[in-house]
Symmetry: C3
Subunit: 157 residues, 3 copies
Amino acid sequence: MVALAPVEKWKWGSRRWNLKSYRKELWFNVPARRAFINITPQVETCLRESGIKEGLLLCNAMHITASVFINDDESGLHEDYERWLERLAPHDPVSQYLHSRTGEDNGDAHLKRQVMGREVVVAVTGGKLDFGPWERIFYGEFDGGRRKRVLVKVIGE
Amino acid sequence: MVALAPVEKWKWGSRRWNLKSYRKELWFNVPARRAFINITPQVETCLRESGIKEGLLLCNAMHITASVFINDDESGLHEDYERWLERLAPHDPVSQYLHSRTGEDNGDAHLKRQVMGREVVVAVTGGKLDFGPWERIFYGEFDGGRRKRVLVKVIGE
Amino acid sequence: MVALAPVEKWKWGSRRWNLKSYRKELWFNVPARRAFINITPQVETCLRESGIKEGLLLCNAMHITASVFINDDESGLHEDYERWLERLAPHDPVSQYLHSRTGEDNGDAHLKRQVMGREVVVAVTGGKLDFGPWERIFYGEFDGGRRKRVLVKVIGE
């Protein structure tokens, strides 16, 4: 059923090197409750600042009602995500969530974040994000209206 | 629509250093079929033992019917997760899952685990888990009643 | 309610070492629209080629309508995933997705990929994938019929 193409391309570094690390917080204040923001340019700036050429880059939401994920920068798709997540985990009525007993009204945001994920780990190769043609990094806000953070951490050479 | 706050805080280490690695298994025996357990203290103990100050920490379920994820330590929310996952992928009737033909009754657990995720990767900065204010690590058990493991691996300096 | 077993096993390397990196692309051409392919042998070959004994391995889809995930190599379960994902995010009618306005018919694939995930990060210990007994790595294709890639990146010693 499946034709598995032969492995075609590879490269590796046998050269021994020393480790560097880099850390930065990206801050957001999204006025709307929900939004998807392309943060690829900011993450690329971080990578340039780090000077790291080979390694791994972690990018994660530091809040538990937000996501960092990789997908397509296409507004129709983002609206599809919005509708789909609202169907899987509706915001209203907030009384459906036991979490609302804490006084919060963001039970749905904690669920949506699990579907979209907390973090991405991206390979760093030749000083660039090692991406396929359409991969872009997004901040997914599910409970906006306040300042929230994303962490970028890079380790490598 | 979106006000993107300027990048405000960063630090990085240009100092060259050498790599260390650390590995530990955390074992669990959850009597119930399903439960969420805060394992942050155990993971912090691992990080202290490792002596690693800068790097990445991987924490993953070693079983395919369990999750490791990061969210809020709030019992109402955990009950919301339980209800929501049971709605997305109900346990009963087990006959709805072809996986049941193997004699297992945990088809739902394999699905729930995909929603909640297998692993988290956490930045290590200054010898600590580099967390936002409410981030905690949880073991999500979806097919308990037996001994199961979580892996903690840390690399860095 | 929960009996937490004591931490039992651990080992760590205090020895100081230098970093190596490795990169390879695995190419696929899946004739069907959707399929799950066990790529554990190819990833193990990458790890052997890298010569890396301790570190982290990242394996990610380079396309945004495909997944890399870890679960069980059981055909009934894979059929359960197929049915479940089709229920959560049906392919037809494609007109239900605003993404279809771009001329694409793969809106569902972008949603399914978020449930199953983009990537896995696996610990490398003693030159092996540090896996529990049933963990296997899968390529999840949700929009096949063309050549697509998976990235394997390893860093460590």
